[in-house]
């Protein structure tokens, strides 16, 4: 009966798609471990959505931890800071995990991890002070997308009535946000208080998936200790359905509001921030230490000792894996990020970036299968959380008709991978959706 009710509700648009993916939260009980500072870091100048930074140091310069080494005047961007102290030995182009070429600053360590003298807690009184501080901190969305946080915070007064703190962590394997909730819950609360007061946001929702009862318990406890805690800071249990943590899905789950295509969360009165980003803001306000390290889950069937680690930005991914005991079997595939949306890399000779949240190494062809003909089962459409029809879009994409692709909403796709996950024919539907989006973009340029 439940299934029938669900189908009927689905028919009238009450329940969105999504898929049940195995959680594999193997590292949930692994406390964050600080990785010893490496001999060398290579820090890319593009670790966010938007304009890349330009190096502001020269080869031979001595730098210290937290010193700005890359910046730009472009609006959508975030400055970049040295993550170890030492000497700049090279500035040149490197290839990133996604295949893009980016300028990067190489720093060789002096082994001292000296703090930059200029570091002091920012003075915050007004909204503008906070936004500027967040800008200077170099913070980008730590959930994976890497959107500069200060840009997100520049909304008109009174436009936002709900701050959603995203602790869903719906990608399999990754547990760093969970660890943040367990280990740094007070930072999360003070981050929420700062944002709530400065921006005058009446409601705060901390959204956690049901499969993390311990995090829910701890967050509820600290929220209740707050003066207006129970009314104004709510901990919300969400179904553990992928992609619960996707911004539009999260807003819908938490508030019932739908962000229309091409609109922003602020257009429906919401701002969504990753839980680790919120905790970082609290720490930055306290210490003034910019974003120079981040937490990573290292897991997968090929890793000897899966762990949650705190890593300096720019550290070599191979060295991070070595810290976790290296490979126990030869890796077949290595992914930065989660298995649903992460990037498969061709080798481990790449730096850890601000928006990375996991390194996963798998020993065999986990879950991959041969592509067969579409049997028109419609499971891709049923799985799409944004009510798109990936099968239909694939067919239209082959004709290259940008107008028709737009009319079926192909540009709305966020590439969450639910369609391709659920396809019994193993079709590369995310790839097809990207093709469709590229066709629309190219047509718009003309």
């Amino acid at each position: 009966m439940g299934k029938i009710v669900k189908d009927v509700l689905h028919a009238v648009g009450k329940i969105r798609g999504g898929v049940h993916v195995q959680h594999h939260k193997n590292t949930a009980e692994c406390e964050l471990v600080r990785v010893p500072s490496p001999q060398k870091v290579i820090i890319p100048m593009q670790m966010h959505i938007g304009a890349p930074c330009v190096p502001v140091v020269n080869v031979g310069d001595t730098v210290s931890v937290g010193q700005c080494i890359g910046d730009t005047t472009a609006f959508v961007s975030a400055p970049i800071h040295a993550s170890i102290s030492g000497t700049v030995t090279a500035i040149g182009n490197i290839k990133l995990a996604n295949g893009n070429i980016s300028s990067a600053v190489t720093i060789e360590s002096d082994g001292e991890m000296r703090q930059f003298e200029g570091i002091e807690p920012p003075h915050i009184e007004t909204k503008e002070d906070l936004i500027e501080a967040v800008h200077r901190s170099g913070l980008v969305g730590l959930g994976g997308a890497g959107f500069p946080t200060h840009v997100k915070l520049r909304f008109p007064d009174g436009k936002i009535d709900t701050l959603i703190v995203n602790a869903a962590e719906c990608e399999p394997y990754i547990t760093v946000d969970y660890r943040e909730c367990i280990e740094n819950s007070w930072d999360i609360l003070s981050g929420i208080k700062i944002l709530k007061e400065i921006f005058n946001i009446p409601n705060v929702v901390i959204a956690v998936e049901k499969n993390k009862p311990k995090a829910i318990e701890i967050l509820s406890k600290i929220a209740a200790q707050e003066e207006h805690g129970k009314d104004e800071i709510k901990v919300m249990k969400l179904d553990a359905v992928y992609p619960q943590g996707a911004e539009k899905v999260m807003i819908y789950s938490a508030t019932g509001r739908k962000v229309p295509p091409g609109k922003l969360p602020s257009d429906v009165g919401c701002v969504v921030m990753n839980v680790a980003s919120v905790a970082f803001i609290a720490r930055y306000i306290k210490t003034g230490k910019p974003l120079v390290s981040r937490s990573l889950t290292v897991d997968g069937s090929a890793v000897s000792e899966p762990a949650n680690v705190r890593v300096p930005i720019g550290m070599n991914v191979g060295e991070v894996i070595d810290f976790c005991g290296g490979f126990k079997v030869p890796p077949y595939k290595i992914i930065t990020g989660g298995p649903m949306m992460g990037l498969a890399v061709i080798n481990t000779d790449i730096p850890v970036m601000k928006q990375n949240n996991a390194i996963l190494a798998f020993s065999q062809k986990d879950g991959m299968k041969k592509e067969t003909d579409c049997i028109a089962c419609g499971r891709c459409a049923a799985a799409c959380p944004l009510s798109l029809r990936p099968g239909v879009i694939t067919t239209i994409a082959k004709t290259g008709d940008a107008d028709r692709l737009k009319s079926v909403g192909a540009d709305v796709c966020m590439e969450c991978g639910s369609c391709a996950f659920s396809c019994p024919a193993g079709r590369p539907l995310v790839q097809n959706m990207r093709l469709a989006k590229t066709i629309i973009r190219e047509a718009a340029k003309k």
Partner: protein, 335 residues
Amino acid sequence: MSNELLTASVSPHVRTRDTSRSIMLDVIIALIPSLIASVVIFGFRALAVTASAVASCVLFEWLSRKAMKRHNTIGDLSAVVTGIILGFNLPSTMPIWMVVLGSLIAIVVVKQMFGGIGQNFVNPALLARIVLMVSFPKAMLSSWAEPFAWRSETPDALTSATPLAVLKTGEGTMPSLFNMLFVKAGSLGEVCAVALIIGGIYLVIRKVISPIIPLCYVGTVAVIMLVFGLVKGEGNALVFMLNEILAGGLLLGAIFMATDYTTSPTSPSGKVIFAIGCGLITSLIRLFGNMNEGVSFSIIIMNILVPHIDNLTAPLPFGATKEKKSKKGEEEAAK
């Protein structure tokens, strides 16, 4: 780290375990109770008809793919499913060469000539049944073996009217409701309602099919028949309705043929429209048409409408509103 490059591929890096083959295998499993029932009721002959349909379907699938120089697809088991369903749509007395001809129509004409799995615009087994019905009406429509006749000494002499014919013409006696559930005269696959329902429940539990189409299809027929029974006022309307549901190929069609992925709508609301349409046409043919049975024609007619139903019921992208179109029109008008 060696210099060997790792495998890079597009996300997602995990996939469901379901494959086209595993789905077809589930359908085959769901058909087994009915196959057993038909063999019990009609004997070896039922197995011979089904087996020859399956064998010839697989052979024609292989041959036509070969002839068209396209990759071999018999491994997806869809031809086996088509074969079983075609066999289930034929009487146990069907000459084998006609069964093979049916397979040829289903696989070569309806399925492969339109591009193979996922591309056929009507249900292959059903269209083959209709072609056989109009080509060989005597073999298809008038020689129904009596259930369990194969055990008697003169099996060929024992023929029986199908319950649908009794309902239509009023001649002959209607089996009891108990018999309607378990054993009645008819095509191979439709004679044991309980076996079909077990198969249907299996498919729903395995999430191979959504229950929307079977429930709405049977539900529509039930409502119409109940109303008709009440208006007509002859005998018990409820019994009339139950007889109509259990007679003929309604359950076989609603559970196994109207739910065919390729030829049914994908959206839940589309499925509702499709199923109600099937139920409506089935009822109209049964009540007012020339023929006793309307399931095949109703599903085929609705199959043809599926692309339009799909377009009509296409969901709007998340958060989009219908005004968008009019805005676009205004913009174009402004230009």
